[in-house]
Protein backbone atom coordinates (compact mmCIF):
# COMPACT_ATOMS: atom_id res chain seq x y z
CA UNK A 1 0.00 0.00 0.00
CA UNK A 2 2.66 2.50 1.02
CA UNK A 3 4.32 3.79 -2.09
CA UNK A 4 7.83 5.14 -1.94
CA UNK A 5 6.64 8.64 -2.50
CA UNK A 6 4.51 8.54 0.63
CA UNK A 7 7.27 7.18 2.86
CA UNK A 8 7.81 9.50 5.73
CA UNK A 9 10.97 11.48 5.99
CA UNK A 10 11.37 13.04 9.35
CA UNK A 11 12.96 16.41 9.33
CA UNK A 12 15.60 16.81 12.01
CA UNK A 13 16.51 20.43 11.47
CA UNK A 14 16.70 22.54 14.59
CA UNK A 15 15.73 20.03 17.24
CA UNK A 16 17.18 16.60 17.75
CA UNK A 17 13.93 15.04 18.85
CA UNK A 18 10.79 16.10 17.11
CA UNK A 19 8.77 16.33 20.29
CA UNK A 20 6.44 19.30 20.22
CA UNK A 21 4.23 20.71 22.93
CA UNK A 22 1.07 22.80 22.71
CA UNK A 23 2.01 26.41 21.97
CA UNK A 24 5.26 25.59 20.20
CA UNK A 25 5.75 27.57 16.99
CA UNK A 26 6.62 25.32 14.05
CA UNK A 27 9.15 26.49 11.52
CA UNK A 28 8.12 25.52 8.06
CA UNK A 29 10.46 26.69 5.36
CA UNK A 30 8.30 26.01 2.31
CA UNK A 31 4.95 27.74 2.26
CA UNK A 32 3.72 26.49 -1.11
CA UNK A 33 0.84 24.02 -1.09
CA UNK A 34 1.12 23.60 2.68
CA UNK A 35 -1.18 21.05 4.28
CA UNK A 36 -1.63 20.81 8.04
CA UNK A 37 -2.84 17.63 9.70
CA UNK A 38 -4.09 16.96 13.22
CA UNK A 39 -2.35 18.80 16.06
CA UNK A 40 -1.39 21.89 14.08
CA UNK A 41 -3.20 25.14 13.51
CA UNK A 42 -2.58 28.26 11.47
CA UNK A 43 -2.68 31.61 13.23
CA UNK A 44 -2.36 34.57 10.90
CA UNK A 45 1.03 33.76 9.49
CA UNK A 46 2.65 31.22 11.76
CA UNK A 47 1.95 27.56 12.43
CA UNK A 48 1.32 26.66 16.07
CA UNK A 49 1.21 23.23 17.66
CA UNK A 50 -1.90 22.44 19.71
CA UNK A 51 -1.12 18.87 20.77
CA UNK A 52 1.78 17.14 22.48
CA UNK A 53 3.45 14.55 20.31
CA UNK A 54 5.97 13.90 17.58
CA UNK A 55 6.14 16.32 14.68
CA UNK A 56 6.18 14.47 11.38
CA UNK A 57 5.91 15.47 7.78
CA UNK A 58 6.00 14.18 4.24
CA UNK A 59 8.84 15.98 2.51
CA UNK A 60 7.59 15.78 -1.03
CA UNK A 61 4.01 16.86 -0.43
CA UNK A 62 4.67 19.45 2.28
CA UNK A 63 2.19 17.81 4.64
CA UNK A 64 2.72 18.32 8.36
CA UNK A 65 1.07 16.72 11.37
CA UNK A 66 1.62 15.81 15.01
CA UNK A 67 1.59 12.16 15.92
CA UNK A 68 0.16 11.64 19.38
CA UNK A 69 -1.92 9.21 21.35
CA UNK A 70 -5.26 9.74 23.02
CA UNK A 71 -8.42 7.85 23.87
CA UNK A 72 -11.11 10.44 23.25
CA UNK A 73 -12.01 10.53 19.58
CA UNK A 74 -12.32 13.85 17.76
CA UNK A 75 -14.18 13.43 14.44
CA UNK A 76 -12.27 14.16 11.26
CA UNK A 77 -13.71 14.03 7.77
CA UNK A 78 -13.02 10.80 5.91
CA UNK A 79 -12.31 8.67 8.98
CA UNK A 80 -13.92 5.25 9.06
CA UNK A 81 -15.62 4.79 12.45
CA UNK A 82 -17.60 2.15 14.33
CA UNK A 83 -20.74 3.49 15.97
CA UNK A 84 -23.52 2.12 18.14
CA UNK A 85 -27.09 3.12 17.27
CA UNK A 86 -28.60 5.05 20.17
CA UNK A 87 -31.66 6.60 18.53
CA UNK A 88 -33.97 5.72 15.67
CA UNK A 89 -35.73 8.62 14.00
CA UNK A 90 -37.86 9.15 10.92
CA UNK A 91 -35.09 10.74 8.95
CA UNK A 92 -31.90 9.65 10.62
CA UNK A 93 -30.20 7.43 13.17
CA UNK A 94 -27.98 8.69 15.93
CA UNK A 95 -24.70 6.89 16.52
CA UNK A 96 -22.40 6.89 19.51
CA UNK A 97 -18.94 7.10 17.98
CA UNK A 98 -17.10 7.88 21.20
CA UNK A 99 -16.79 11.60 20.46
CA UNK A 100 -18.16 14.48 22.53
CA UNK A 101 -21.30 14.57 20.37
CA UNK A 102 -23.20 11.76 18.78
CA UNK A 103 -23.06 11.43 15.01
CA UNK A 104 -26.02 11.60 12.66
CA UNK A 105 -26.51 8.86 10.10
CA UNK A 106 -29.18 9.93 7.58
CA UNK A 107 -31.38 7.14 6.28
CA UNK A 108 -30.56 8.19 2.73
CA UNK A 109 -26.86 7.65 3.37
CA UNK A 110 -27.16 3.96 2.47
CA UNK A 111 -26.78 2.54 -1.03
CA UNK A 112 -30.01 1.96 -2.98
CA UNK A 113 -32.46 3.39 -0.47
CA UNK A 114 -35.46 5.58 -0.79
CA UNK A 115 -38.00 6.74 1.73
CA UNK A 116 -39.92 3.46 1.46
CA UNK A 117 -37.12 0.92 1.75
CA UNK A 118 -35.20 2.01 4.75
CA UNK A 119 -32.32 0.07 6.26
CA UNK A 120 -33.23 -1.90 9.37
CA UNK A 121 -31.06 -0.95 12.30
CA UNK A 122 -31.99 -1.44 15.92
CA UNK A 123 -30.88 0.43 18.98
CA UNK A 124 -27.58 -1.13 20.01
CA UNK A 125 -26.62 -2.25 16.51
CA UNK A 126 -23.06 -1.74 15.35
CA UNK A 127 -22.51 0.30 12.21
CA UNK A 128 -19.33 0.84 10.22
CA UNK A 129 -19.49 4.23 8.54
CA UNK A 130 -17.37 7.02 7.15
CA UNK A 131 -17.45 10.54 8.52
CA UNK A 132 -18.75 12.96 5.90
CA UNK A 133 -19.03 16.08 8.00
CA UNK A 134 -16.81 17.08 10.86
CA UNK A 135 -17.18 20.65 11.93
CA UNK A 136 -16.29 21.81 15.39
CA UNK A 137 -19.57 23.73 15.74
CA UNK A 138 -21.89 21.07 14.36
CA UNK A 139 -22.82 17.48 15.07
CA UNK A 140 -20.75 15.11 13.00
CA UNK A 141 -22.40 13.27 10.14
CA UNK A 142 -21.59 9.82 8.86
CA UNK A 143 -22.58 7.84 5.78
CA UNK A 144 -22.53 4.18 4.80
CA UNK A 145 -22.06 4.72 1.09
CA UNK A 146 -20.01 6.68 -1.35
CA UNK A 147 -22.36 9.25 -2.92
CA UNK A 148 -20.41 9.22 -6.17
CA UNK A 149 -20.64 5.50 -6.83
CA UNK A 150 -23.69 4.71 -4.65
CA UNK A 151 -21.90 1.60 -3.36
CA UNK A 152 -21.38 0.60 0.26
CA UNK A 153 -17.60 0.09 -0.14
CA UNK A 154 -17.60 -2.24 2.84
CA UNK A 155 -19.57 0.05 5.13
CA UNK A 156 -22.85 -0.88 6.75
CA UNK A 157 -24.16 -2.84 9.69
CA UNK A 158 -21.73 -5.18 11.44
CA UNK A 159 -23.34 -8.43 12.49
CA UNK A 160 -22.13 -10.69 15.31
CA UNK A 161 -18.50 -10.56 16.31
CA UNK A 162 -17.00 -8.51 19.09
CA UNK A 163 -15.51 -5.06 19.63
CA UNK A 164 -11.99 -4.38 20.87
CA UNK A 165 -11.62 -0.97 22.47
CA UNK A 166 -8.16 0.50 22.17
CA UNK A 167 -6.22 3.74 21.89
CA UNK A 168 -6.51 5.89 18.78
CA UNK A 169 -2.84 5.48 17.97
CA UNK A 170 -3.18 1.69 17.86
CA UNK A 171 -6.03 2.02 15.34
CA UNK A 172 -3.86 4.28 13.24
CA UNK A 173 -0.99 1.78 13.46
CA UNK A 174 -3.21 -1.02 12.18
CA UNK A 175 -4.86 1.00 9.45
CA UNK A 176 -1.54 2.31 8.15
CA UNK A 177 -0.48 -1.35 7.88
CA UNK A 178 2.69 -1.26 9.92
CA UNK A 179 4.71 -4.31 8.99
CA UNK A 180 4.89 -5.82 12.47
CA UNK A 181 1.18 -5.57 13.12
CA UNK A 182 0.48 -6.85 9.62
CA UNK A 183 2.58 -9.93 10.20
CA UNK A 184 0.86 -10.43 13.56
CA UNK A 185 -2.55 -10.35 11.89
CA UNK A 186 -1.27 -12.63 9.11
CA UNK A 187 -0.04 -15.04 11.75
CA UNK A 188 -3.51 -15.08 13.32
CA UNK A 189 -5.02 -15.42 9.86
CA UNK A 190 -3.11 -18.63 9.21
CA UNK A 191 -5.23 -20.47 11.74
CA UNK A 192 -8.47 -18.51 11.74
CA UNK A 193 -10.31 -16.68 9.04
CA UNK A 194 -10.75 -13.21 10.51
CA UNK A 195 -12.87 -10.27 9.46
CA UNK A 196 -11.70 -6.96 10.88
CA UNK A 197 -13.27 -3.52 10.67
CA UNK A 198 -11.09 -0.79 12.08
CA UNK A 199 -12.72 2.36 13.29
CA UNK A 200 -10.48 5.34 13.80
CA UNK A 201 -12.46 6.08 16.96
CA UNK A 202 -10.65 3.41 18.98
CA UNK A 203 -12.90 0.49 18.15
CA UNK A 204 -11.97 -2.62 16.24
CA UNK A 205 -14.65 -5.07 15.23
CA UNK A 206 -13.52 -8.65 14.95
CA UNK A 207 -15.44 -11.63 13.67
CA UNK A 208 -14.12 -15.07 12.93
CA UNK A 209 -15.68 -16.92 10.05
CA UNK A 210 -16.18 -19.91 12.31
CA UNK A 211 -17.88 -17.67 14.94
CA UNK A 212 -16.18 -19.81 17.55
CA UNK A 213 -16.18 -18.07 20.91
CA UNK A 214 -12.93 -19.57 22.18
CA UNK A 215 -11.01 -18.66 19.04
CA UNK A 216 -12.49 -15.16 18.97
CA UNK A 217 -11.42 -14.58 22.57
CA UNK A 218 -7.96 -15.86 21.65
CA UNK A 219 -7.65 -13.41 18.73
CA UNK A 220 -9.13 -10.61 20.85
CA UNK A 221 -6.53 -11.31 23.49
CA UNK A 222 -3.60 -11.32 21.05
CA UNK A 223 -4.67 -8.09 19.31
CA UNK A 224 -5.31 -6.41 22.65
CA UNK A 225 -1.95 -7.55 24.01
CA UNK A 226 -0.09 -6.04 21.05
CA UNK A 227 -1.53 -2.60 21.78
CA UNK A 228 1.16 -1.51 24.19
CA UNK A 229 4.07 -3.33 22.59
CA UNK A 230 6.75 -1.86 20.38
CA UNK A 231 7.84 -3.55 17.16
CA UNK A 232 10.48 -5.81 18.77
CA UNK A 233 8.02 -7.07 21.38
CA UNK A 234 5.41 -7.71 18.71
CA UNK A 235 7.92 -9.88 16.83
CA UNK A 236 8.49 -11.75 20.07
CA UNK A 237 4.75 -12.15 20.50
CA UNK A 238 4.49 -13.55 16.97
CA UNK A 239 7.20 -16.07 17.76
CA UNK A 240 5.47 -17.10 20.97
CA UNK A 241 2.30 -17.80 18.97
CA UNK A 242 4.11 -20.55 17.12
CA UNK A 243 4.04 -22.83 20.13
Amino acid sequence: MTSNEDKMEIDHEGTELDVVLPGDPINIARKDDLKLGPGLTLTQDSVICIKAGLLKHFNKKNKWYVESNQKRYIPAEGDPVIGIVTYKGGEYYRLDIGSAHQAILPILAFPNVNKKSRPILNIGSLVYARITLANKDMEPEVACCNPKTNKDEGFGELKNGFVIKCSLRYCRRIISQETEICSLLKKLGEKHEINLAIGMNGRIWIRLKSDDTRDTIYCYDVIKRAENLDNDDISELINSLND
Partner: protein, 277 residues
Protein backbone atom coordinates in the same frame (compact mmCIF):
# COMPACT_ATOMS: atom_id res chain seq x y z
CA UNK B 1 -21.53 15.64 28.52
CA UNK B 2 -23.02 12.91 26.43
CA UNK B 3 -23.67 9.65 28.18
CA UNK B 4 -21.45 6.84 27.05
CA UNK B 5 -23.79 4.36 25.53
CA UNK B 6 -23.60 0.89 26.95
CA UNK B 7 -22.27 -2.03 24.93
CA UNK B 8 -23.72 -2.93 21.56
CA UNK B 9 -25.99 -5.90 20.91
CA UNK B 10 -23.06 -7.70 19.29
CA UNK B 11 -20.91 -7.41 22.39
CA UNK B 12 -23.73 -8.46 24.71
CA UNK B 13 -24.56 -11.50 22.59
CA UNK B 14 -20.91 -12.47 22.43
CA UNK B 15 -20.35 -12.23 26.18
CA UNK B 16 -23.54 -14.18 26.89
CA UNK B 17 -22.50 -16.85 24.41
CA UNK B 18 -19.13 -17.02 26.10
CA UNK B 19 -20.69 -17.44 29.53
CA UNK B 20 -22.88 -20.25 28.20
CA UNK B 21 -19.75 -21.99 26.93
CA UNK B 22 -17.93 -21.31 30.18
CA UNK B 23 -15.57 -18.77 28.59
CA UNK B 24 -14.84 -15.24 29.72
CA UNK B 25 -13.06 -12.43 27.94
CA UNK B 26 -10.18 -12.27 30.40
CA UNK B 27 -9.67 -16.06 30.21
CA UNK B 28 -11.10 -16.60 33.67
CA UNK B 29 -13.13 -19.58 34.71
CA UNK B 30 -16.62 -18.78 35.98
CA UNK B 31 -15.46 -19.19 39.58
CA UNK B 32 -12.17 -17.29 39.14
CA UNK B 33 -11.66 -13.90 40.67
CA UNK B 34 -9.59 -11.14 39.19
CA UNK B 35 -6.19 -10.27 40.56
CA UNK B 36 -6.38 -8.19 43.71
CA UNK B 37 -3.91 -5.55 44.83
CA UNK B 38 -3.92 -3.75 48.17
CA UNK B 39 -1.62 -0.79 48.79
CA UNK B 40 -1.58 1.50 51.78
CA UNK B 41 -1.09 5.19 51.30
CA UNK B 42 1.50 7.44 52.86
CA UNK B 43 -0.57 8.19 55.95
CA UNK B 44 -2.66 6.07 58.31
CA UNK B 45 -6.03 4.89 57.13
CA UNK B 46 -5.60 5.22 53.40
CA UNK B 47 -5.79 2.18 51.18
CA UNK B 48 -6.15 1.63 47.47
CA UNK B 49 -7.58 -1.62 46.19
CA UNK B 50 -7.50 -2.86 42.62
CA UNK B 51 -9.61 -5.71 41.35
CA UNK B 52 -8.58 -6.19 37.75
CA UNK B 53 -9.22 -2.76 36.25
CA UNK B 54 -11.56 -1.65 39.03
CA UNK B 55 -9.87 0.72 41.44
CA UNK B 56 -11.16 2.08 44.75
CA UNK B 57 -9.48 4.42 47.20
CA UNK B 58 -10.62 4.52 50.82
CA UNK B 59 -9.59 7.14 53.36
CA UNK B 60 -10.44 7.06 57.04
CA UNK B 61 -10.57 10.19 59.16
CA UNK B 62 -11.78 10.90 62.67
CA UNK B 63 -13.06 13.73 64.82
CA UNK B 64 -14.57 14.19 68.27
CA UNK B 65 -18.31 14.81 68.36
CA UNK B 66 -21.29 14.61 70.67
CA UNK B 67 -22.93 11.14 70.67
CA UNK B 68 -26.52 10.37 69.70
CA UNK B 69 -28.82 10.78 72.68
CA UNK B 70 -30.17 7.24 72.49
CA UNK B 71 -26.64 5.80 72.33
CA UNK B 72 -24.61 7.95 74.72
CA UNK B 73 -21.68 5.54 75.06
CA UNK B 74 -21.12 4.63 71.43
CA UNK B 75 -18.90 6.17 68.81
CA UNK B 76 -20.07 6.81 65.28
CA UNK B 77 -19.05 5.38 61.94
CA UNK B 78 -19.99 7.12 58.71
CA UNK B 79 -19.49 5.56 55.32
CA UNK B 80 -19.41 7.84 52.34
CA UNK B 81 -19.22 6.71 48.72
CA UNK B 82 -18.14 8.93 45.88
CA UNK B 83 -18.93 7.63 42.40
CA UNK B 84 -17.82 10.34 40.00
CA UNK B 85 -17.67 10.42 36.18
CA UNK B 86 -13.97 9.70 36.58
CA UNK B 87 -14.90 6.07 37.26
CA UNK B 88 -17.34 5.73 34.41
CA UNK B 89 -18.43 8.46 32.00
CA UNK B 90 -22.14 7.74 32.22
CA UNK B 91 -22.25 8.62 35.91
CA UNK B 92 -24.00 11.94 36.39
CA UNK B 93 -22.12 14.23 38.74
CA UNK B 94 -23.94 15.62 41.76
CA UNK B 95 -26.96 13.45 42.26
CA UNK B 96 -26.14 9.94 43.53
CA UNK B 97 -27.23 7.30 41.05
CA UNK B 98 -29.31 4.25 41.88
CA UNK B 99 -26.20 2.11 41.64
CA UNK B 100 -24.32 4.30 44.09
CA UNK B 101 -27.17 4.21 46.63
CA UNK B 102 -27.28 0.43 46.35
CA UNK B 103 -23.53 0.17 46.82
CA UNK B 104 -23.50 2.38 49.90
CA UNK B 105 -26.47 0.51 51.40
CA UNK B 106 -24.72 -2.84 50.99
CA UNK B 107 -21.51 -1.48 52.46
CA UNK B 108 -23.41 0.02 55.36
CA UNK B 109 -24.96 -3.36 56.08
CA UNK B 110 -21.65 -5.14 55.65
CA UNK B 111 -19.48 -2.94 57.83
CA UNK B 112 -21.72 -1.05 60.26
CA UNK B 113 -24.61 -3.40 60.90
CA UNK B 114 -22.37 -6.45 61.21
CA UNK B 115 -20.70 -4.65 64.16
CA UNK B 116 -17.27 -5.28 62.77
CA UNK B 117 -15.92 -2.16 64.47
CA UNK B 118 -16.12 -1.82 68.24
CA UNK B 119 -18.11 1.42 68.62
CA UNK B 120 -18.18 1.32 72.39
CA UNK B 121 -14.40 1.58 72.40
CA UNK B 122 -14.77 4.93 70.61
CA UNK B 123 -16.47 6.55 73.59
CA UNK B 124 -14.42 9.19 75.38
CA UNK B 125 -16.87 10.67 77.91
CA UNK B 126 -20.37 9.19 77.91
CA UNK B 127 -23.06 11.63 76.83
CA UNK B 128 -20.39 14.20 76.04
CA UNK B 129 -17.67 13.17 73.62
CA UNK B 130 -17.17 10.25 71.29
CA UNK B 131 -15.00 9.57 68.28
CA UNK B 132 -16.70 9.84 64.93
CA UNK B 133 -14.97 7.74 62.27
CA UNK B 134 -15.58 8.57 58.66
CA UNK B 135 -14.67 6.38 55.71
CA UNK B 136 -14.59 8.06 52.30
CA UNK B 137 -14.55 5.74 49.35
CA UNK B 138 -13.63 7.10 45.95
CA UNK B 139 -14.20 4.96 42.89
CA UNK B 140 -11.33 5.73 40.57
CA UNK B 141 -12.03 3.22 37.84
CA UNK B 142 -15.18 1.20 37.28
CA UNK B 143 -14.79 -2.13 35.57
CA UNK B 144 -17.52 -3.97 37.42
CA UNK B 145 -17.89 -5.35 40.92
CA UNK B 146 -17.22 -2.12 42.76
CA UNK B 147 -18.95 -3.50 45.86
CA UNK B 148 -16.31 -6.15 46.54
CA UNK B 149 -13.48 -3.72 45.84
CA UNK B 150 -15.00 -0.99 48.03
CA UNK B 151 -15.60 -3.41 50.89
CA UNK B 152 -12.00 -4.62 50.84
CA UNK B 153 -10.76 -1.02 50.59
CA UNK B 154 -12.92 0.15 53.49
CA UNK B 155 -12.10 -2.68 55.87
CA UNK B 156 -8.37 -2.62 55.11
CA UNK B 157 -8.30 1.17 55.53
CA UNK B 158 -10.06 0.81 58.89
CA UNK B 159 -7.55 -1.86 59.93
CA UNK B 160 -4.68 0.39 58.88
CA UNK B 161 -6.12 3.47 60.58
CA UNK B 162 -4.69 4.88 63.83
CA UNK B 163 -6.52 7.50 65.88
CA UNK B 164 -4.72 9.95 68.19
CA UNK B 165 -4.30 8.81 71.76
CA UNK B 166 -6.27 10.51 74.51
CA UNK B 167 -6.11 10.89 78.27
CA UNK B 168 -9.18 11.61 80.36
CA UNK B 169 -8.83 13.16 83.82
CA UNK B 170 -12.29 13.78 85.25
CA UNK B 171 -14.06 15.85 82.63
CA UNK B 172 -10.81 17.04 81.11
CA UNK B 173 -9.88 15.39 77.82
CA UNK B 174 -6.46 15.76 76.23
CA UNK B 175 -5.86 14.66 72.67
CA UNK B 176 -2.24 13.85 72.02
CA UNK B 177 -0.88 14.52 68.58
CA UNK B 178 0.73 11.69 66.60
CA UNK B 179 4.18 13.14 67.36
CA UNK B 180 3.57 13.18 71.12
CA UNK B 181 2.25 9.68 71.59
CA UNK B 182 1.83 6.62 69.42
CA UNK B 183 -1.61 6.64 67.84
CA UNK B 184 -3.92 3.73 68.65
CA UNK B 185 -5.56 1.35 66.19
CA UNK B 186 -9.31 0.77 66.13
CA UNK B 187 -10.50 -2.48 67.60
CA UNK B 188 -11.91 -4.58 64.81
CA UNK B 189 -13.99 -7.59 65.79
CA UNK B 190 -13.95 -9.26 62.40
CA UNK B 191 -13.39 -8.40 58.75
CA UNK B 192 -16.54 -8.66 56.65
CA UNK B 193 -15.80 -9.48 53.00
CA UNK B 194 -18.30 -9.02 50.18
CA UNK B 195 -18.49 -11.56 47.38
CA UNK B 196 -20.68 -10.73 44.40
CA UNK B 197 -22.24 -13.21 41.99
CA UNK B 198 -23.91 -12.48 38.68
CA UNK B 199 -26.63 -14.68 37.20
CA UNK B 200 -27.57 -15.21 33.58
CA UNK B 201 -30.34 -17.05 31.74
CA UNK B 202 -32.73 -17.29 34.70
CA UNK B 203 -30.05 -18.27 37.14
CA UNK B 204 -28.76 -21.15 35.06
CA UNK B 205 -25.29 -19.66 34.74
CA UNK B 206 -23.37 -18.20 37.65
CA UNK B 207 -20.27 -16.04 37.41
CA UNK B 208 -18.22 -14.54 40.24
CA UNK B 209 -16.56 -11.12 40.23
CA UNK B 210 -18.36 -9.79 37.11
CA UNK B 211 -16.73 -7.18 34.88
CA UNK B 212 -18.62 -4.10 33.75
CA UNK B 213 -19.70 -5.68 30.46
CA UNK B 214 -20.91 -8.77 32.29
CA UNK B 215 -22.80 -6.59 34.76
CA UNK B 216 -24.60 -4.91 31.87
CA UNK B 217 -26.13 -8.17 30.68
CA UNK B 218 -26.70 -9.99 33.95
CA UNK B 219 -30.24 -10.86 34.93
CA UNK B 220 -29.63 -10.81 38.62
CA UNK B 221 -26.94 -10.42 41.20
CA UNK B 222 -26.34 -11.39 44.78
CA UNK B 223 -23.82 -10.10 47.27
CA UNK B 224 -22.86 -12.21 50.25
CA UNK B 225 -20.93 -10.71 53.13
CA UNK B 226 -19.01 -13.15 55.26
CA UNK B 227 -16.08 -13.18 57.61
CA UNK B 228 -13.28 -15.58 58.21
CA UNK B 229 -15.31 -17.42 60.87
CA UNK B 230 -17.78 -18.52 58.17
CA UNK B 231 -20.45 -16.21 59.57
CA UNK B 232 -22.75 -14.63 57.03
CA UNK B 233 -23.09 -10.97 58.02
CA UNK B 234 -25.37 -9.87 55.21
CA UNK B 235 -26.91 -11.22 52.08
CA UNK B 236 -28.40 -8.83 49.60
CA UNK B 237 -30.26 -9.66 46.47
CA UNK B 238 -32.11 -6.67 45.13
CA UNK B 239 -34.51 -8.09 42.58
CA UNK B 240 -33.42 -9.98 39.52
CA UNK B 241 -33.97 -13.56 38.61
CA UNK B 242 -35.18 -16.00 41.32
CA UNK B 243 -32.62 -18.57 42.41
CA UNK B 244 -32.68 -22.21 43.37
CA UNK B 245 -31.70 -23.20 46.87
CA UNK B 246 -28.76 -25.27 45.64
CA UNK B 247 -27.38 -22.26 43.78
CA UNK B 248 -27.38 -20.14 46.92
CA UNK B 249 -25.75 -22.88 48.99
CA UNK B 250 -23.16 -23.39 46.27
CA UNK B 251 -22.50 -19.64 46.19
CA UNK B 252 -22.09 -19.49 49.95
CA UNK B 253 -19.45 -22.21 49.78
CA UNK B 254 -17.50 -20.29 47.16
CA UNK B 255 -17.88 -17.12 49.21
CA UNK B 256 -16.54 -18.82 52.34
CA UNK B 257 -13.27 -19.81 50.73
CA UNK B 258 -13.03 -16.43 49.05
CA UNK B 259 -13.57 -14.52 52.31
CA UNK B 260 -10.88 -16.56 54.02
CA UNK B 261 -8.45 -15.95 51.19
CA UNK B 262 -9.14 -12.19 51.04
CA UNK B 263 -8.73 -11.84 54.81
CA UNK B 264 -5.33 -13.51 54.50
CA UNK B 265 -4.41 -11.11 51.67
CA UNK B 266 -5.43 -8.07 53.73
CA UNK B 267 -3.49 -9.39 56.71
CA UNK B 268 -0.42 -10.04 54.56
CA UNK B 269 -0.63 -6.53 53.08
CA UNK B 270 -0.99 -5.02 56.57
CA UNK B 271 1.98 -7.01 57.87
CA UNK B 272 4.11 -6.00 54.88
CA UNK B 273 3.19 -2.36 55.51
CA UNK B 274 4.03 -2.66 59.21
CA UNK B 275 7.47 -4.14 58.53
CA UNK B 276 8.22 -1.24 56.18
CA UNK B 277 7.76 1.33 58.94
Amino acid sequence: MVKEFESSINEKDFILQGIKEGLRLDNRDKYDFRQIGITFGPDYGRSEVTLGNTRVLAKVSCEVTRPYQDRPAEGMITLNTELSPMAFPSVEPGRPSEEEILVSRILEKAIKRSRSIDTEGLCIVANEKVWSIRVDMHFLDHDGNIIDAACIAAISALAHFRRPDITVIGEEVTIHSIEQRNPVPLSIHHMPICVTFAFFENGEYVVVDPTLQEEQIRQGDMTMTLNVHKEICALSKAGGTPLKMETIINCSQIATTRAKWITEQIQAALDAEKSKK
